[in-house]
Structures are given as C-alpha cells and as structure tokens.
Symmetry: C2
C-alpha cells in the first residue's frame, strides 16, 4: 500500500501527491511513514527560497519566474507558506488565484501550507512538502514565505538560492535590518521598480552589502530591479539564479548547504518525535493538576516540567563513552 503510493508519486501522480501533502499538513502518522519511503528518492531538485515583507509582490514574482522557468522546460513545484486563519478554514485566496494561470500546466504544482496553528515544526512540514515535489520529479521547487524575521521558516536554511524581495517605499531599509535578511539573501529583487525610490533602494542595499565583510571566495549578492507584474527583470533573475547554482556547484558549497539542510531536518525530526511524547503527556490527568498548581503559583513551570519528564520520558542516561565526560 505505502509502496504503491511511493510509486505513484515517483511517477508524478498528482492525486497521490496531493493526498500525501494533506496528510503532512494534518500531521498524520502514516504521512511520516510514506515520507520515509519517498525520502530515498529525493535530493535532485533545486530549491529556491522567496522571502520578503507582505505586499512586496512575492507571489507575483513567483508566478513570473514559473513562466520563465517553464520556457526552459524545467518542471516546477511551489510551496507557499502563508499565514492562514483557522476562521477561514485554511482557504488562501490571493496566491492561488494569481497563480491560477498555471493550473492547466501539469508540470507545475503549487501547494499552500497553512502556518497558523501549525502544531509541529513549520520547517519540517515545509521540507516534507518539498520532498514530495522533489520525488514527483520537479526540477525546481520554490518556497515562498513571508520574511518578518519572527520565527518563521528560516528560508535560507531550506533553500539552495534565497531571493529576498523588496519594494520601494515600504521602509525596507529598516525592515531589512530588522529581519536580518541581509545575510540570508543570495539575490535581492527590488520589485515594483517603476515606483519612486527603486533606484535609491538599490543603492542603499548595495551600500549595506558593502558593510558586511565579504570573503572574496564568497558569492556576492546581486541586486536586481524588476517589475514582476509585466515580466521586467525576470529573465535577469532567472539567469542569476542559474549562475548562483553553478557557483554553488563549482565551489562545492552546495554540499555544505545540503548538509546544513539535513542537519536542520534531523533536529526537526527529533523535536517532532519528542513533541509526540509531550502530546501523550498532555493528555494525562496529572498534567491538568500541574497546570492548576502552576496557575496558583504552588509550583514553578520548570519544576513542573521536570516532574512530568522524569516520570515519563527521560531515561537515566547511561553516559556514552565519548571524549566528553562531564561527570569527572
């Protein structure tokens, strides 16, 4: 059965992929099982992260990039990590409608991922959906996420190439500093470049990049002026992405990035597994008693947490024979 789904997805079956993605989003245990099988068949796709403040035109840019990549015959997957209301039940109008023109193109698969109320790790869910798209045979996978700097998916840890989208007149300089995206970006796209201030924003970004100590072997971020809505700057963006890809491969840095991603994924998987244990605990009567005791200040949260953990999860750790032995 699981084998069957794996095969279907490897053959690009859209329905099987969509079902698995739903399972991932709903955090179903069998989705994890299926991902285990798929995982061995992944690692071929190239991942592009697209981030920036709300309103800068990330989706419009993604849309234009799809068109351009499709001309080059690349198969495309998109994961849009978007804030969603539990109230609206997960319906995300804007992006889907806007990218609707690719709806009839079977080599384009677009998936939104609700982030609000997401119980597990958002990075884990995002990467899981990326893996499904990868296994489906997509050559390029774009991950679009709001970059508020507020604990959202750190897109640069997930992507091979990270595009940071800015637009003039949004106080971007400050936004940029705040979100720490200067260091994360491989390419800056200044969208809505017909607006006043685009050129000066470009200069500002380039000056800021000048402040960061640049290793001469290191990729120096490129700043591109674009108008995604009418395709201006899109070819340049695509060319620059491909150039960055060649750079990552020739410098060997792609290995480093992917090892980082594997590390992130392992940590997320560990936290996921631990969270399952915690969820089990939370169902416990004792947990409710502890919560009450906590609200009444009869115990502090750390002592309460220790009680819970000692009683359930944490083993008396037999110290591994290792170079570090803190017991001595």
């Amino acid at each position: 059965m699981e084998k069957d789904i794996t095969d279907k997805i490897l053959n690009g079956d859209v329905r099987a992929a969509a079902r698995l993605m739903r399972g991932i989003e709903d955090n179903l245990p069998q989705a994890v099982e299926e991902l285990r099988h798929l995982y061995m068949h992944t690692g071929k796709a190239y991942i592009i992260g697209i981030t920036g403040a709300p309103g800068v035109g990330k989706s419009t840019l993604a849309d234009a990039l799809i068109t351009s990549f499709r001309k080059r015959k690349f198969k495309i997957g998109v994961v849009a990590v978007d804030p969603t209301s539990p109230f609206t039940g997960g319906a995300l109008l804007g992006d889907r409608i806007r990218m609707g023109k690719h709806a009839t193109d079977k080599d384009v698969f677009i998936r939104s991922l609700a982030s609000r109320g997401w119980a597990g790790g958002l990075a884990r869910a995002t990467l899981s959906i990326v893996h499904v798209l990868d296994a489906m045979g997509k050559d390029i996978i774009m991950v679009e996420a709001v970059g508020s700097g507020q604990g959202e998916v750190d897109i640069s840890r997930v992507a091979d190439t990270t595009l940071v989208v800015l637009s003039p007149g949004m106080g971007d300089e400050i936004q940029m500093m705040k979100a720490g995206i200067l260091e994360a970006a491989d390419i800056f796209v200044i969208n809505k470049a017909d607006k006043e201030g685009a050129e000066s924003l470009k200069i500002q970004v380039e000056q800021m990049l000048g402040i960061i100590p640049q290793n001469k072997d290191k990729w120096k971020p490129i700043v591109i002026l674009a108008q995604a809505v009418n395709g201006k700057g899109i070819e340049e963006t695509v060319e620059t992405v491909l150039e960055h890809k060649r750079y990552l491969i020739s410098s060997g840095q792609i290995k480093h990035r992917r090892s980082e991603r594997a590390r992130l994924e392992l940590v997320e998987a560990i936290e996921h597994s631990l969270r399952l244990h915690v969820n089990e605990i939370i169902d416990d009567d004792n947990f409710q008693n502890l919560t009450t005791a906590l609200a009444q200040r009869k115990i502090d949260p750390y002592s309460a947490a220790e009680q819970v953990l000692n009683r359930t999860i944490i083993a008396k750790k037999p110290r591994k024979s290792g170079k570090k032995n803190q017991d001595i």
Copy 2:
C-alpha cells in the same frame, strides 16, 4: 546569591531585573534558576497584548497608553517582541527612541526582546520577561508583537486583554483574515484614524465581527478609532481595557485565561527541557555522522531521529496506571 537577586527584583531593583532579562535572552541556565524563585511572587500584574501588522503604529500606541496609564498611577512594564538582525547585534532603534520620553520615569520599564535566531521558545522568553516585570511590582504589562500570523508569539494566549491595531489603507481586511486575529482580539484599535478609509475599516471590522457566532455571555470586541500620535482615542482605549478587565473578573473568565497561560507555560517549559537534551545530543559525533548519512539519502530523518532518541533520551515507558491503556 539567587535569593539576593530575587529580593532585589522584588524591591524593584532595575539593574538586577535588567541583568536577569539579559540572562533570559541569552538562555542562561542560572536565569532559569532565578525565575524559579521569582515565579512564586508573580501573577499580580495585568497583561495587555498589542499586536498588528508592521507599520500600523503599535509602538506609538503603546507609548500613548503608557502616558495615560501613568496618569492613573499604574506602574508599567513593556516587552516589545521585535524582529532583530543578528547582524545589528540586537539593537532596535525605532521603538526605544520613540518610547524614550518615559526613560526618566522609574515606574516605566521597557524591554525589547529579539526574536530572530531565538533558540528557545519565544513564548517562553516573553513570559519569563513578563514574570520579571510582574515580580518588580508592575501593575500593567504590555506585550507588543508583530502579528503576521506566522508562528510568532500567539499574543492572545499570553495576554489578559488583546488589542489588535489596524490602520486604514493597508489591506487590513485581508491581513486580518489571514492572520486569524479576528478571534484573538478583545479590542480593535484603528490607528491613524485621520487617514481616509478609517471609518469604512471600522464598519468592515464590525461587520466581520457580526459573522462570528457571538455567545451572548461573551465579551463582544469593541472597535475604537484612534490617533495615537496625538492622543486621540487613547482615553477610550484605556477605559475599554479596564472595562474588559472588570468583565474578565466578574465573569470568572480571568481564571480560565490564566489557566490557559499556565498550560502554555508548562508545555513551553517541557519543550525547553527537551530541547536541552536535544542540544546535548547534537554535540555528539554520531549526530554528524547521521547528518552526513541523511544528506546522502542513506537514511531518512525519522529513522535517524529514532536512532538518536532510543540511544539517549527515551526511557522504556512504564505505562502509568491510568484510564487509558492502549496496550490492551
């Protein structure tokens, strides 16, 4: 020594409080120890959450509210949870400068909390700083956080009263839907009410509130027009907050909210404790080997996670005698 710091903070010592807050932000183990002692002395302050999209004027509103609460002799603490760049080293210009006029008022304590790169739970850190302010004897603590709906601190779970700040012409209707803040708000403040569209935004919000099924015993969110920059609507906001507080107390709902908060805090403490264990594991040689195996697709992340956990943390769980026995 720890006792000493507790006493100092209980006496409102600003320097001791600031040092502990730094320890919390740096995730120092002794900060947790000190929080344990302090915790028993907390639970007296009233917590107001202020959230909304970037640029709506949350800080300006917080600033105006401070002035108004101070006229009523309330002692005030503020935690501004803000995206920060690791690059700028945590310096947050805007807010601090803006609220600088309270710098000489010893009964106002304002603290920024970087959110970017925060290794532990952001909710845990925020609540920890709230506890310090509470122990210092602040009557009202405001927590200001960007509400992008992207896994940031879910302010309504931390606060007694949640203010959602909107401003005209920012596509707020959509933002609102996306972020699911309609359900979270106790009070809406439409800031920059001199701008075109303020009145119609108010009507829109009220219409949307009309859609949500309202329990007749439930607090019905109030929508207030304000211009924080010149104090307009601030008295009304303060009065409404105090009215909401009275409502929570008389309806008994404050107990429910605080029990929810305790629950959140216990879960965060458990996750914190588990994260410490995970961090220990990550230092392990074996972890690097697993990461490499993962990047090469020799193993999947979930099997790798299982290996790590079985080897270190997870005890053979002796099933507690409880009503649920899944083994049967």
